[in-house]
Amino acid sequence: MSAGSFAFFMNVPTLLCLGLVLGYPVIYAAYLSVHRVGLGQLRSGVFAFNGWDNYGRVLEDPLFWVALKNTSIFTVVTVGSEIVLAVLIALLINQTSIWTSRVTRFLILLPYAIPPICNGLIWSFLYSFQFGFLNRILFSTGLINDPINWAGNPDTALYAVTVPYIWRTLPFAIILVHAALQGIPRDIYEQAAIDGANAWHRFRHITLPMLQQIIAIILILRTAFAFAVFEEILAITQGGPGDATWVAAWYSYKITFSPPNNFGMGSASAFILTLMVAAIALVYMRLIYRRVTL
């Protein structure tokens, strides 16, 4: 068998999978998004073409813009904090002479093991106004006298749901930064120390430039995924209070799978979300393209 046909043969399962589960649904979502599709149409199997109607209705829906605004705030807050925290904590666990750093390093991956839906529920227990664990801690340490309504206050709810998300996804960022840190040759630091550079200078002029690429990669990956946050919203606030934590994926999910089940509009809104994420993905590919040549 020639190398070419062998390569093709080896890729048949992948091509089938990608076509069936990724390619076809994305195209079909585009199809649904320009047709009138509700439960009635699903039963009869006849979808009437309605042009840009669904997109028009999504873009005219104030709730969609609220969701988009919330998603943007959520993404900026989570990704921003994650990058700062990941660099700081990666530097911290790199201090192998400190025994507590070794403990942290051992524990750092733990949140990666927690199912997102469980994470959400655990934090809804932490945040609970009446029975919550966080208020219990603050009461018993004497920091507060009245319970705080963490996730039930429209002003703080969106920020409250960022914390569990950061908690769950931070290990990924820390691990990438930590791996990059270990790739920096030690003698650069030694040379700089001989030349009289203090710790801050070494961080600013050696560490940070060497971490630039990995930070960019984390920024893009985390932005794309934070844009599609779903589980923590479902578990903690279900979009509430009011519309304070409606995010883009939640919007598409609710429009589609709760009455009146508008599959057309749901597809249109999901497709808008996809286009935004696709733009991010293209930037990512350009960035790591040099490495893609393998």
Binding site: F6, A7, M10, P13, T14, L18, V21, L22, P25, V26, A29, V37, G45, L88, I89, L92, N94, Q95, I98, T100, S101, V103, T104, L107, I108, Y112, A113, I114, P115, I117, C118, N119, L121, I122, F125, F131, N135, R136, P164, F172, I175, L176, N198, L221, F227, F230, A249, S252, S267, A270, L273, T274, V277, I280, L282, Y284, M285, I288, V292, L294
Partner: protein
Amino acid sequence: MFKTTPTIRILLHTANLTVIFFILLPLVAVFIGSIQSERALQADTRRVLPLEATLDNFTVILTKGQQRGRIFDQATYLPDNIKSFYTAFMNSAIVAGSVTGLTLLFGSLSAYTIARQRFRWTLFLLQANIVARFVPVIVLMIPLYVVMRSVGQLNSLSGVIIAETGFLLPYAILILAPYFDTIPTELEEAARIDGCTRLGAFFRIVVPLATPALAACGVIMFIISWHELLIPLILNARPDFMTLPVVIASLVGDVHVFFNLMMAICLLALAPTVVLVALLQKYIVEGLSAGAVKG
């Protein structure tokens, strides 16, 4: 990296303790919540540690509601989904196991050719996989629901397995490809000269050498699949086919389920992947960086 004066050491220890506190806080909360009764949680809302510890929450879940124990004595209602814990656990195990197997098999076949054969289309395939990794699940689920519904594949484990395999395959390929690239070609060439077929050389020479990468990829696939909520939530509505995350999600908003029971079922659901992460940490760390950086 820098001289550690006593002041700096204290600062670093404090920073570490803060991080450790943040990591452990939700885990302590889920554990304490799971060993309390509803009455104890409501009686004193300012206590961190429970007045009494009980295993009744676990008993009621693990005996499908048969043995209610003291704290559920008076309870007239238990959600049906709590009773289907074993079914859900088995469904989760079947789905996660199958998805892991399929993504490893298909993924290594593809990743190997992408790493070895430099055709224009294999490079294109790699790029397609990089982009595919970004596709939000929600945009796939609406059309998949419509299609699965029309072909009568809603409420089946195979539908969920196919959907998750397709969704995770690009990521598996991204994790595996850089590793296959580091395996020297000489061994395969020698095997080929000795009369081995290309496929034979792949399975007999390359796959055994790639065991660490397969372990890294496999454990990550298992974890993501064990955690996946949206795909089984949308495709399976009948209790017989629910996975654990779906059962847990169904408790959200059920006014009759209190935190003690929720924390207990969460603890049972997160235990398997916590054990995996504790045992296979090294592989996961390698897999995560390979999948993100080296394309």
